[in-house]
């Protein structure tokens, strides 16, 4: 009973704040609502007993992604009101298409059946909580059975990094950069010159 109530609270709040992400005028508010959505999703994960995923969601999405979003929103001079100008115009068409898709999904999921003997086919049956904690269970899968996929993801991230650097890094001549070693190695002798100034005359 209480679990159901908490579920509806998290789910309702997640949907409401999700709507606010696209509805609010101020982009900073949008990002803050996004963070609220993430927290609610983390709550839903907790209800499912997936505490590791819940924590990762908070750490990665709230801690890193959302902060990055905020940073971008504040740094870039984008006119969000202008970006949203056409929304009302496209809203009816989009709503109709969305409705059709919703009905289709409902029809599809309405009579969902599983393959016969699906239990025998499941790839990595989840161990129950009293056997291992789910951090442990995820780790075992990720680093043993799915080691290939894990390594492949690593290579994909490497390509993403190469791509970002290649497309954005520019070597501009004449840019003054900090060279910490040189700066620390400077001594008084290199930078200060003591001259005797005769009275009545200049240097």
């Amino acid at each position: 009973m209480i679990a159901a109530l908490i579920f509806y609270m998290f789910a309702g709040l997640a949907v409401a704040s999700g709507v606010m992400v696209i509805a609010s005028r101020n982009p900073v508010h949008s990002v803050l609502f996004l963070i609220l959505t993430f927290f609610n999703a983390a709550g839903l994960f907790l209800l499912l007993g997936a505490e590791f995923l819940a924590m990762v969601l908070v750490v990665v999405y709230v801690g890193a992604v959302a902060v990055l979003f905020l940073f971008v929103v504040m740094m870039l001079d984008i006119n969000f009101v202008k970006l949203k100008e056409g929304v009302l115009q496209y809203l009816p068409t989009g709503a109709v298409i969305g409705l059709i898709l919703l009905v289709e999904l409902a029809v599809m999921f309405g009579g969902w059946t599983f393959a016969p003997d699906v239990e025998a086919l499941v790839m990595a049956p989840a161990p129950t909580a009293d056997q291992v904690s789910n951090t442990d269970a995820l780790g075992r899968l990720l680093y043993t059975t799915y080691a290939y996929l894990f390594q492949a993801s690593g290579v994909i991230l490497l390509v993403a990094m190469i791509g970002t650097i290649m497309l954005t890094l520019r070597r501009r001549p004449g840019v003054r950069k900090q060279k910490i070693a040189d700066q620390i190695a400077r001594t008084g002798k290199d930078s200060v010159e003591i001259r005797k100034v005769p009275s009545g005359g200049g240097i």
């Binding site: 599809m108 009579g111 393959a115 043993t144 290579v155 994909i156 390509v159 190469i162």
Partner: protein, 484 residues
Amino acid sequence: MSETFDLIPVLPELFLVLAAMALLMAGVFRKDEGFGSTTSLAIMAMVAAAVLVWAVGGDERQTTFGGMFVMDSFAVFAKLMVLVGSALTAAMSVSFLEREKLGRFEYPILILFATVGMMMMISANDFIALYLGLELQSLSLYVLAAYNRDSVRATEAGLKYFVLGSLASGMLLYGVSLVYGFSGSTSFEVLPRIFGGDHPAAPHLGFIAGLVFIIAGLAFKISAVPFHMWTPDVYEGAPTPVTSFFAVAPKIAALVLFTRVMVGPFGDLVDQWRQVITFIAILSMFVGAFAAIVQTNIKRLMAYSSIGHVGFVLVGLAAGTADGVQGVLVYLAIYLFMNVGTFAVILCMRSKGRMVEGIDDLAGLSRTHPLMALTMAALMFSMAGIPPLAGFWGKFYVFKAAVDAGLFTLAIIGVLTSVVSAFYYLRIIKIMYFDEAIEPFERVSGRAMGMVMALSTAVVLLFTFLPGPLLTSAKAAASVLFPQ
């Protein structure tokens, strides 16, 4: 708890990834750009990987990583095609990129990573492995499309490709999740067990929807109509060497992957997917034939031409038989050489110190560069499917497979559209041989270009006389997918 995996089947991929990382480190720590030497080393790595593929792949089917990675003669055939395609296009790009002052060491490294992604796709035996291979390949391609970052067209091409490609990946994943929801597994080995055997299960509506989503996602990657809109813009906007790479290796890899997914896990559901494949094959052949007629830019023309070729390949897949898959492989091998040769000619189109891309710029090529014109003419005749050149045989085998499978309408439409598409291929020959030259091209053809042109012309001309090796190896490769 600890599992050990047999690493021998993945040796070629492992080698290529390590080579790419080593070249990356070398490139970062060098003082100069190091474009030429990195590219040569990358090509050598690809050749070595091809040798490894040859050595590792036997007649026996090997799987590793808990059945997620499969190495069979189908994979060997496809990987050799991909490696040859990547290596040839990388070799062709060197002189062009150096002339345009675009040479940077990341270029060959991204090609290497894309090639690894393609090899992972070809060997995927699990939907998640498929997805990761596809993403590795796509991500490298997005970056390559925007490689010339100072050009608005290239940046637009990259961005467009990225956004639409992500959408397609999303569709694919959604389809996979529906399939997983039905069967509880993402492995390619499990689905035939559900739908095959003595008590085949009836596929659920949601499962069929998942199958259609997967087809839609993959159709985007092979640029089949109606998911082709990005192709002309990306082909035109990206630098020409990148376009030539796009047109060959990734397309072959994606089509091979498409074939494996349809025939492997969904093999028993051929009645369900045949109509979808037939539909996109017909549309692709139509768009490839009619939309190409009005093009004036040769890169756009090649984009539509490749859409048409994808349609012809899908005819072979729609047959859903071992002969059909053999036709697909033969067509792809011939397509590889025709495209590489054509792009070698396009890369040589330069006048007044800059690259030209208009079809009319080819006017009078037969007088200024007779050998190049002859190569182009042979390739165009072959693409149009005029016997006895190789292109005719590619089409012959896919149409024959379709007829044998009872798909007469599809085969007739295929023949008709190939007649229409002959118009614009022959128009190029007419422009080269009968129009007055406006501005002769500069002599830029390096040794790599000459070799690629000679090789592709030789393949196109000699295939009729020596079809045996290709046909038998393609037959052996195709039969792996149809265990008796």
